[in-house]
């Protein structure tokens, strides 16, 4: 099998901060309340623990991006299930892909989209899970939607979608 099979095109890579376009301003969003090293650039830091909940953080980021100017770099640090919804928000606000840096780990909590009931849910890095919404046992495919920020989950066994025990 080729290297592309080991890492399908549709599976995101979490690269180290590349030498992308030069930044004029830096916005960092983290899942934890970690301390941040000082940098040369103006840096704004939004940390989840400083907000009432995730929705409040999303609102704060959206508000910040509404008034932002081209030249801003956004860095998102946390679990996959944390960074990707923020990534979608930033793209909708007009940031380009290469203006956003994701710092996450492939082993962290991720989101899975169930094709049977069309709901997303948090999941571990395991290959299968039972859909929390419709109960179908899902096999998590190596296919990732940037729009949804989620992996595709499909029925693992069409003969026994709910993993029924056969008599």
């Amino acid at each position: 099998m080729s290297a592309t099979t080991d890492h399908p095109f549709s599976v995101p890579r979490y690269a180290s901060p590349a030498a992308g376009p030069k930044a004029r301003e830096h916005l960092l969003v983290t899942q934890t309340g970690e301390a941040v090293a000082a940098r040369d650039l103006p840096l704004i830091h939004l940390a989840l623990p400083d907000y009432a909940d995730l929705a409040a953080l999303h609102q704060a980021l959206a508000g910040y991006l509404r008034d932002a100017r081209v030249g801003l770099r956004l860095e998102l640090r946390g679990d996959q299930s944390f960074v990707w919804p923020l990534h979608a928000l930033a793209r909708a606000a007009g940031l380009e892909d290469d203006e956003i840096h994701l710092d996450s780990s492939a082993a962290s909590t991720r989101r899975v989209f169930c094709v049977h009931c069309a709901n997303c849910q948090p999941a571990s890095a395991a290959d299968s899970l039972t859909c929390a919404h419709c109960g179908v046992v899902l096999e998590v495919r190596r296919h990732f939607s940037q729009r949804l920020g989620a992996y595709l989950g499909v029925c693992a066994d069409a003969e026994q979608p709910y993993a029924e025990v056969r008599p």
């Binding site: 992308g20 376009p21 030069k22 930044a23 004029r24 301003e25 991006l65 932002a68 100017r69 081209v70 030249g71 801003l72 770099r73 793209r91 606000a93 007009g94 940031l95 380009e96 892909d97 290469d98 203006e99």
Partner: protein, 306 residues
């Protein structure tokens, strides 16, 4: 290939003429804003011209052609030989300069005859109700085609830079733009380079910059090529591109822009010295591929893998 008749010729300025192309049979295909067509001139030249006018209207195509002093036979032929009622063949429209579907503010930048694709864009953006500005640098009385029409249609969206009166300043254009801003520029290479440099300095992603330079291939010294698979030898003249020499010899290579940007005509070569003049190939690809629409030989004869 589509057969068209020159339905009308209009002099826009002493050096720019508009040609209206009408289908001989049936209807012309619809096009999206930013599209161009290739004209196959009876003298063997093929040139790409942007379609202006409103993409939603359909009907005849309109192109505007500036008479180039250093014409290699394209614009000079159109200006001097082509008459109303003449027929021509054209290719189907292709779009290498489309509007971004995600942008929320569009800045259109034109210099001189570069206005043509941006006229189509301005029609489309007006219809969408999108936020946009058109910045037009021109020389009054010669390269200011469609100025009155644009003033009427665009009002304050039109920003003018008449030569000698107001200089176009890329830094001022790009300063403090909201996220979601995209730039579309058409004009000479120097303008595109200025914009790219400023955008880079201000931290813009290159993805926000869309440009089109339909400069004809620059002439050079004559050179020789050999076709590895057929064993044929061709001589490319000083005023001719390699692509044109291949076509003249009956070798058809897929192509769209004929200006070194679209990547369609990428051709493998096995040996020889190549002067790469395209904007498409990366450094790593240049050792084995070349773009015959603009690139030339310079030294050892080129052995093409075709």
């Amino acid at each position: 290939m589509i057969e068209v008749r020159i339905a009308a010729i209009r002099e826009l300025t002493p050096v720019i003429r508009e040609y209206r192309l009408q289908a001989l049979h049936g209807d012309l295909p619809r096009f999206s804003a930013g599209s161009h067509v290739q004209l196959h001139l009876p003298n063997g030249r093929r040139n790409a011209y942007s379609l202006l006018g409103d993409p939603a209207e359909g009907g005849d195509y309109r192109i505007a052609v500036r008479h180039q002093e250093a014409s290699r036979g394209g614009s000079r032929y159109l200006h001097q030989q082509l008459r109303r009622g003449d027929t021509l063949k054209i290719g189907a429209p292709a779009n290498l300069f489309p509007l971004s579907g995600k942008a929320r503010q569009h800045l259109l930048v034109a210099a001189g005859i570069g206005i043509t694709p941006l006229i189509a864009h301005s029609h489309e953006l007006l219809r969408q109700g999108a936020a946009f500005e058109l910045h037009y640098a021109y020389r009054a009385g010669s390269s200011d085609a469609y100025l009155d029409e644009l003033r009427q249609r665009l009002g304050p969206r039109l920003h003018e830079y008449p030569a000698g009166q107001r200089r176009f300043d890329p830094a001022a254009l790009l300063a403090a733009r909201p996220l979601g801003c995209h730039v579309y520029a058409c004009g000479p290479q120097s303008l595109l380079l200025d914009l790219r440099e400023q955008a880079d300095a201000l931290g813009w992603s290159p993805r926000r910059l869309h440009s089109e330079a339909f400069a004809a291939p620059e002439p050079g010294l004559p050179f020789r090529v050999e076709l590895a698979r057929s064993g044929r030898h061709l001589q490319v003249g000083a005023e001719q591109s390699l692509l044109e020499a291949l076509e003249a010899a009956g070798v058809e290579i897929p192509n769209l822009c004929r200006g070194g940007v679209c990547g369609q005509c990428q051709t493998a070569y096995l040996k020889g010295d190549v002067e790469h003049r395209d904007h498409f190939l990366g450094a790593a690809e240049r050792g084995a591929s070349l773009m015959p629409c603009v690139s030339r030989g310079c030294g050892q004869p080129i052995l093409l893998d075709i």
